[in-house]
Symmetry: C2
Subunit: 338 residues, 2 copies
Amino acid sequence: MPDLRKDPVSGRWVIIATERAKRPDDFIIEKAQKVEGFCPFCEGNESKTPPEVYAVRDGSMKDTPNWKIRVVPNKFPALSSDGEIKSQRDGIYRSMTGIGRHEVIIETPSHTKFLHNMDENEIRLILETYKIRYNKLKEDVRLRYILIFKNYGFEAGASLSHSHSQIIATPIVPKRVSEELYSARNFYLEHRNCIFCEILKKEIDERIRIVDENEHFVCFAPFASRFPFELWVLPKKHTAFFEEIKEDEIKSLVKIFSSIFPKYYKILNDPSYNYIIHTAPVQMSGKWPTIEYDYHWHIEIIPKLTKVAGFEWGTGFYINPMPPEKAAEFLINAGGGT
Amino acid sequence: MPDLRKDPVSGRWVIIATERAKRPDDFIIEKAQKVEGFCPFCEGNESKTPPEVYAVRDGSMKDTPNWKIRVVPNKFPALSSDGEIKSQRDGIYRSMTGIGRHEVIIETPSHTKFLHNMDENEIRLILETYKIRYNKLKEDVRLRYILIFKNYGFEAGASLSHSHSQIIATPIVPKRVSEELYSARNFYLEHRNCIFCEILKKEIDERIRIVDENEHFVCFAPFASRFPFELWVLPKKHTAFFEEIKEDEIKSLVKIFSSIFPKYYKILNDPSYNYIIHTAPVQMSGKWPTIEYDYHWHIEIIPKLTKVAGFEWGTGFYINPMPPEKAAEFLINAGGGT
């Protein structure tokens, strides 16, 4: 009998098809596809990107070789960085000027380094850069939400294969995010506790979905996983704001990253994936006084192993043929871990 | 400057990247992929599916050749048809037995007939079958929602290429559906009018996003389209319940279908797509007395031309590089239409 499970945060139901439980190899659509040809992100091609807005360099000049990380505006930004926010109403239709920021974090000068084969030092620089750019973009008072995410592989939406992440900052709080915020607030109002802290407690008690854990972070396959091998990474300490992450917490998170991605690579044969940092909106001071209590930042990691089809689009409810308990077991058995 | 647009029903924002406007050819990922090899849906292979639960036949025997449409239980159902609904609560986690129904509508005995090359009579049989099976499944009092949808092409999640649709009936009202219902109810409470009727009125007034229209239906690219060439088909007459569709309305809808899918085929080079019938939940009598006023059934059609990436998963907000006004223009210019 399949199991219907409800995600306690989003209220989304998922069908866990326990009887069709499969092995990791059954899910492999294809290896994360690499794009061939000229790569504007490679060392030496700095002139092919918009001028960098941040870089980790050993004294070399801006937009020249010899760097470890470069951050550049997206050449084809989804939102425009210049201009004023203007709202329009035309009968029932509302629109707004597409103001925002869209940056690309080029994570390494090398075309063949990825999260699954970088060393801890390289991963640390990426996470530190996330924090630095987040805090920089936060200064733009027109913005309400800053989203850090990664598309790895063509199936996950990456149009260039050179390892990179993106930051999109928007003038509104996106729907999925505000649903999560409201749900967390309602839970807090009712229970005087953070829903994510409750989830953490439950996961650590049961220890049947945890894939990795260290001083500051827990990584587990969520109870109502939408996708096979979906993982969430939560800081153990309750905190709503990713941007307040401390140096020793970054070190812990690096260890989680350098454990998870080699595991994916190994048992899922280099899958495409997305990850997304879910954190509180910006410019909220005074507007949502309880946010620091009721929200809890975290990372969601989704390998792209199945196609999202009509049923999912029509209902927002997912069929997952890999029970998270099984997924955790496969990932643990892949070895590694902190 | 990109345009941020808000869908009046879901409240979802979409980035319409007007400046990157492209031609239809720019979106083609690949032709809807056909699965080769043995096909259990072809005429003559009736024994390879579970026994049919409904068919359109000219006097031939059940589960033998000589039929026009067959409906069979899915061989690998997402939900189990036997058993009782049992809810469980384990701390913050809730689950339920996976009871429901999962049927496949085999739309034609031919392996090479699809919506883009069927005649009107063939399409009419499909739509009539939707209505018949919907009303049949409605008798199962354990169910709350009946979803009719189609996955065409591998990119859209189809695992067999022979033309078919699916029906999944669930014991809960899915999240996306209840969001739409609540939003429509709130609009009705505030305005004493149906939000979909308002959208229809606006679209017919402006006539810049309408692709096809006839006596009973309007087909248009929605103002806040999430995807390039997304289309909605709305009945002109306000009605919450797909299953009450009348014979002459089916005829009108057939004309829309036989106009739209050849257009997709022509300008998007046989794309993968999903469509989904959004209709009111079942077993609601007495529980939601205003539903017949505030909801309005419709069909959403989504060609699979872009990859859904981290940004979309993280925010529920979409980047669409094809303004719906342009999409409508391309589709109108493709010719045909009722």
